[in-house]
């Protein structure tokens, strides 16, 4: 098994006809993902390298059997596209788009929760289940199939850790980028729950960064509800308060959201936290081999 996406995923891509959408959509298909449709209003009936394009996501569900949507449209229109996906009948929406206003995401978040649709992102690299499917922009070559589940706020940092795991001979059940925005559809807790219930995941690596309190809440949740070992890495120890470090969510306000506070919260609940991505990967490998 794996989580969120697998060999049965039938993907519809909003924004497939755009430059980035075409590039990554075709890469996802080359990896083996069933990309069954693209959606661009007004371009229904066309195709992108054999992938049929529809006018709406709902049409792609009834006509092509899509069950997962990927959003690759520009930020200004992205929340409307996510809303369309939530209402379309797919059960998972993965939003890659960066820069969506948080006031747009707030109602969209609640809409997804109300309809019971799993939303990943926005501003995330997507989800990869090695050997099964890749939805998003994660470069698959750094990840082999295996027993470590990864959940991360950051893209390149995840590739870095994945590559170190691979070099140590270990692989992944899935890699989930939850995104670095203030409001994201799924939090660490949602993904930790999925890994806990996934028989093919033996250990979880969690990659956090400054801002918000998702890591602190995850620490409490791990102590209560996760039986599998969790190894963490947190970025941003040297970030000054009040400065946004790239991601819209990566900002320390007052005394909350610091890397130190997150590390302490996790360690207090028995989660080992690596000082660098390399050390986190090494701890993960060591822990996995001692299970």
């Amino acid at each position: 098994m794996s989580i969120i996406i697998d060999a049965d995923t039938k993907l519809v891509i909003s924004g497939l006809t755009g430059r980035e959408g075409t590039f990554h959509g075709l890469r996802n298909r080359d990896y083996g993902t069933q990309v069954v449709a693209g959606v661009t209003p007004g371009k229904g009936g066309q195709d992108v390298e054999g992938i049929p394009v529809y006018d709406s996501i709902a049409e792609s569900v009834t006509e092509a059997g899509a069950n997962t949507s990927m959003i690759f449209v520009p930020a200004r229109f992205a929340a409307a596209s996510i809303n369309e996906a939530i209402d379309s009948g797919v059960d998972t929406v993965i939003a890659i788009t960066e820069g969506i206003p948080v006031m747009d995401m707030m109602p969209t978040y609640w809409r997804a929760r109300e309809k019971g649709v799993r939303l990943i992102g926005p501003n995330c690299p997507g989800v990869l289940s090695p050997g099964k499917a890749n939805v998003g922009i994660i470069p698959a070559q750094f990840f082999d199939p295996g027993r470590i589940g990864v959940v991360s706020k950051s893209g390149t940092l995840t590739y870095q850790i994945g590559n170190e795991l691979k070099q140590a001979g270990e692989g992944n059940s899935s890699i989930v980028g939850i995104g670095g925005d203030p409001i994201v559809g799924s939090d660490f807790i949602d993904i930790l729950t999925l890994y806990e219930n996934d028989p093919e995941t033996d250990l979880i690596v969690m990659v956090g960064e400054i801002g918000g309190d998702a890591e602190e809440r995850a620490a409490d949740f791990i102590a209560k509800s996760i039986s599998k070992p969790v190894v963490a890495y947190i970025a941003g120890f040297t970030a000054p308060p009040g400065k946004q470090m790239g991601h819209a969510g990566a900002i320390i306000s007052g005394s909350s959201g610091t890397a130190q506070a997150k590390k302490e919260a996790l360690e207090a609940k028995g989660v080992r936290v690596g000082k660098s991505p390399t050390e986190a990967a090494a701890i993960a490998v060591e822990t996995l081999r001692s299970i």
Partner: protein
């Protein structure tokens, strides 16, 4: 983006919220002209993006022309340090406003609660001090309520918040109306934080917003052209201004090691590893996905325009980005700029071997490459220390 006090108040006024009349001034002469027009007493207030201005001497009351001139002269050019050591922030502009007779001071704010994914309204009958201090000294005095993410704040709910706060009945309706409008401002203007401290009742029994702290979501500025044109007090730093102009994600830090990485998370992690190796990063710079030659030239120019920088670390993990492209960019950029300071490069991921081969071929004397993040950090720390000794 953070708004200065007067910018926030101008925003409030557009929504019919009661703020004191005021005029912007940048010189003592302008401050006097403003004071004469408004009538005494006036408050002469430093416009900087930090709390604690009053304690720092950045807010003064003038009762006549001489005082207005004197206070404005004292405040302009002042360096204000925040209550938690932030800054210093140099004062370049003033807001001169009609003095208010304060009968009572309250606190109110509307913030984005990331944990709950809703707006949170806070109200306290104890104003004029930090919200942290209010929460500590009398937690019961701070009323908190989440706002329905679809419907906004209804006046009935606002009345409930006011009733629970213990604010006197005579002004309750005015305060409830303020809360409703502040939530409206947050939603319509994409404000992720609005803090009014103090919210006052004046001698005439009128509720007035005496201060403002507003943060606008940078991702939403495209739909608020009038806000995006405002001068951003934070970007006064020359490197940050230069980076902004070139569309780079750059944050200035205190140290002497220039850092360039790709991806926000990896870049933050690079700063941490440099610090662990005993160094002190000069900046955060996320070169992003592309990292072609032009982008690298831009980035290097911004980094090296900071005179403190003694050595530079490139930490690239190529995912979609190809390391050979990055290597070409580095080679071209160092040639174009004629950089002599030491550069440490760590390239990993897609096409890293090709990239490293290109760097070797180019034979740039001041360029070193390392295969691991930690190794690269240690090397750059060593080179920066040598640079410090040479310049000493």
């Amino acid at each position: 983006m953070d708004l200065l006090e007067y910018q926030g108040k101008e925003l409030f006024a557009r929504y019919g919220l009661p703020v004191p009349e005021g005029i912007h001034a940048a010189t003592p002469e302008e401050a006097v002209a403003a004071s004469e027009k408004l009538g005494y007493p006036v408050a002469v207030k430093a416009q900087v993006l930090i709390g604690g201005r009053g304690k720092a001497g950045g807010i003064k009351i003038a009762t006549d022309k001489t005082e207005a001139h004197e206070h404005a002269g004292d405040i302009i050019g002042m360096d204000i340090v925040g209550p938690h050591g932030e800054g210093p922030f140099k004062v370049h502009e003033l807001w001169v406003e009609v003095g208010s007779e304060i009968e009572s001071e309250y606190y109110t704010s509307v913030i984005l609660d990331r944990s709950e994914k809703k707006l949170l309204v806070m109200l306290s009958r104890m104003g004029g001090m930090d919200v942290e201090a209010i929460a500590e000294s009398d937690p019961g005095a701070l009323v908190k309520e989440h706002v329905d993410p679809i419907e906004g704040l209804a006046i009935e709910d606002a009345r409930g918040i006011v009733a629970r706060s213990g604010i006197p009945r005579e002004v309750a309706e005015q305060v409830a109306s303020v809360l409703v409008k502040l939530v409206e401002v947050a939603r319509a203007e994409d404000a992720t934080l609005i803090e009014v401290n103090p919210l006052i009742v004046n001698a005439a029994g009128e509720v007035i917003l005496l201060d403002s702290k507003v943060t606008i979501d940078g991702n939403a500025l495209y739909r608020h052209p009038e806000l995006s044109e405002l001068s951003d007090g934070v970007a006064e730093d020359p490197q940050e201004a230069m980076a902004k102009e070139r569309g780079l994600t750059y944050v200035k830090l205190e140290g002497d090691i220039g850092v360039l990485g790709n991806g926000a998370g990896l870049c933050m992690s690079t700063l941490d590893v440099v610090a662990q190796a005993g160094g002190s990063p000069a900046n955060f710079l996320d070169a992003g996905g592309g990292s072609k030659a032009d982008a690298i030239v831009d980035a290097l120019e911004v980094i090296t325009s900071d005179e403190k920088v003694k050595a530079i670390l490139f930490n690239i993990f190529g995912g979609i980005t190809r390391c050979d492209e990055v290597a070409k960019g580095i080679i071209e950029a160092t040639a174009r700029i004629g950089l002599t300071m030491p550069i440490v490069v760590r390239l990993d991921g897609t096409n890293s071997e090709e990239g490293l081969a290109l760097l070797d071929e180019a034979g740039i004397g001041n360029l070193h490459h390392e295969s691991t993040m930690l190794g690269a950090a240690e090397k750059v720390v060593e080179l920066a220390a040598a640079g410090r000794e040479n310049s000493a």
